[in-house]
């Protein structure tokens, strides 16, 4: 039988931080870079295909240039992702747990996107006068049923590619600042804005007029991004871990956050997009400016999100002697 102990003397303290909030150091520059590149790569394919712009953005070796740009960006992002791993040569194992891990789901989406996107445009490949894959029952423009099916699956995979980085952070991480739907929303909207600006620059490079529609979409993505950022900054501000993250954002990174992420990277491109609607001759220049600004803002948004990632304090209550 357990010995009965006398009641302890003293009072219970209010919960105190046994371990204070600390910054995570696992994910930083490489991760911000591949988050950005995956978002832009997937977004370029998604937007150009949904808006049916791929024919007007040039062809190289019979292949749509916009799709090639998308795959190249995704490829570079994928290489950086692999490089960021502690054991890069084991990267194929990242697909083994799609039932519970967003990294697995994202890696699978990356593979599906690149394979099906590549397969979709393959029939257009022209080497000299030869078209070695012309026998395939679809074409690069998805004008047949088979092509539309492949394109549809590739588009779905691209959609996952642009959103999964945010879901990796928001789904199960212990970092309070990341545990919000606002993070995947921000990453997705930022990706779409950067991609829209990229498509506008490709239009300029191929002497295809930028339409009013593209300008409005760019403005819409950025306004929604601004709303998601502001909502995230304004809610649950005293939550352990998030309070420390906000404090770091407003002090250590205040110039980069307010100046580049919000000012130059989000608000200014909205204004540029509106000006572009009103002044069609200036759209080419404004598109290039928007791309540079949204890329800088989007990358730094991701980098700062990682760099203000605090684990919340580990708190507990202890008995204090009563005198």
């Amino acid at each position: 039988m357990a010995e009965t102990r006398p009641p302890a003397k003293g009072r219970i303290s209010t919960p105190i931080a046994l371990m204070p909030a600390v910054l995570q150091h696992e994910w930083d520059l490489y991760h911000a870079t591949w988050f950005t590149l995956m978002g832009v790569g997937g977004g370029i394919f998604l937007l150009s295909r949904l808006m049916r712009l791929e024919r007007g953005l040039g062809v190289w070796l019979g292949l749509p240039v916009v799709d090639l740009v998308s795959f190249a960006v995704i490829g570079v992002g994928g290489l950086i992702l692999i490089w960021s791993l502690g054991r890069p040569l084991r990267f194929l194992r990242a697909v083994l747990k799609p039932s519970s891990s967003w990294i697995s789901r994202g890696a699978i989406a990356d593979f599906i996107f690149v394979v099906l996107g590549g397969a979709l445009i393959l029939p257009g490949l022209t080497l000299g006068t030869a078209r070695p894959f012309a026998w395939l029952p679809w074409d690069a423009w998805a004008s047949t049923t088979a092509g539309r099916v492949i394109e549809g699956v590739a588009l779905a995979a691209a959609a996952i590619v642009i959103v999964y980085a945010g879901l990796v952070l928001a789904d199960r991480a212990a970092v309070t600042f990341w545990r919000s739907w606002a993070i995947p929303a921000q990453f997705m909207l930022s990706s779409l804005a950067m991609s829209m600006a990229t498509v506008m620059v490709l239009q300029t490079l191929h002497a295809t007029p930028i339409r009013e529609l593209e300008c409005w979409w760019l403005a819409a993505f950025l306004v929604l991004l601004l709303a998601a950022i502001v909502w995230h900054l304004a809610t649950r501000t005293t939550q352990p871990g998030k309070a420390e993250a906000l404090a770091r954002l407003y002090t250590t990174y205040h110039a980069v956050f307010w100046g580049v992420v919000l000012g130059a990277g989000t608000i200014l491109p909205v204004l540029l997009a509106v000006v572009a609607v009103l002044a069609p001759p200036a759209r080419d220049v404004l598109g290039v400016m928007s791309l540079m600004l949204t890329l800088a803002g989007g990358f730094l948004l991701r980098l700062l999100t990682l760099r203000v990632g605090y684990f919340p304090p580990v708190s507990g209550a202890l008995r204090v002697p009563k005198r």
């Binding site: 791993l85 502690g86 194992r93 747990k97 990796v168 708190s315 507990g316 204090v320």
Partner: protein, 210 residues
């Protein structure tokens, strides 16, 4: 069977013997500590108390680090021990950012102290541990070799080294599912608490604080 620990915070003197014993037993590289002791001050003068809490992986029954692992390298045994299968880990770091107790440590660099491994480092270090995630294993290599008749938590040789090395008998290891085990008796007697109870991760480390 579910292995667990009960830490009597009233007895811990903060000597860090458990920290060093763990470091030695597992040949951990510089800067990596699976077990460490937190030093806290509570209250305001004159009602002040200084306390020491041995911390590390809590071997949660609902470990958030396991489902996020994209390869299945982060695993939980039937007896509750959470560990990393090094040869399956790709070193993505997701489990480290998923653990609210910050109990996972990536081994990025040289994994010994000097120009070459010392004899004790040679004995215990695992080359597979480089570039992957590492964490407290509840010294499963000691627990698992307990022969019939020996009891981890009672027989020091088959007990996690942090527990068997504790100079103040502040740490106890045993089967939480066995009502007659040392840890079950301590839990019944003292009703110890867990850290971050609000997360409902059902940790296997319990702290007696009063």
């Amino acid at each position: 069977m579910r292995w667990g620990m009960v830490v009597d915070v009233r007895k811990c003197v903060g000597c860090q013997t458990c920290t060093i014993a763990c470091h030695e037993e597992n040949a951990l590289p510089p800067g990596i500590f699976w077990r460490h002791v937190v030093d806290v001050e509570v209250g305001e003068y004159p009602e002040v108390r200084r306390a020491f809490l041995p911390m590390g992986c809590q071997h949660c029954a609902e470990p958030p680090c396991v489902p996020v692992c994209p390869t299945g390298a982060s695993q939980q045994r039937a007896d509750g021990i959470v560990f990393v299968q090094y040869d399956m880990c790709i070193g993505c770091g997701y489990c480290a950012v998923a653990c609210p107790y910050r109990a996972r440590h990536m081994i990025h660099d040289q994994d010994w102290y000097f120009m070459a491994p010392t004899p004790s480092e040679k004995k215990a270090r695992d080359p597979e541990r480089h570039g992957v995630m590492s964490k407290c294993t509840f010294c499963k290599h000691r627990v698992d070799k307990a022969p019939a008749g020996a009891t981890p938590g009672v027989d020091p040789e088959y007990t996690p080294v942090c527990v068997s090395s504790c100079i103040a008998n502040a740490m106890h290891f045993g089967d939480l599912d066995d009502p007659n085990s040392n840890v079950s008796r301590l839990r019944e007697e003292h009703q110890p608490g867990v850290l971050l109870e609000e997360l409902d991760l059902k940790p296997s480390l319990f702290y007696i604080t009063e």
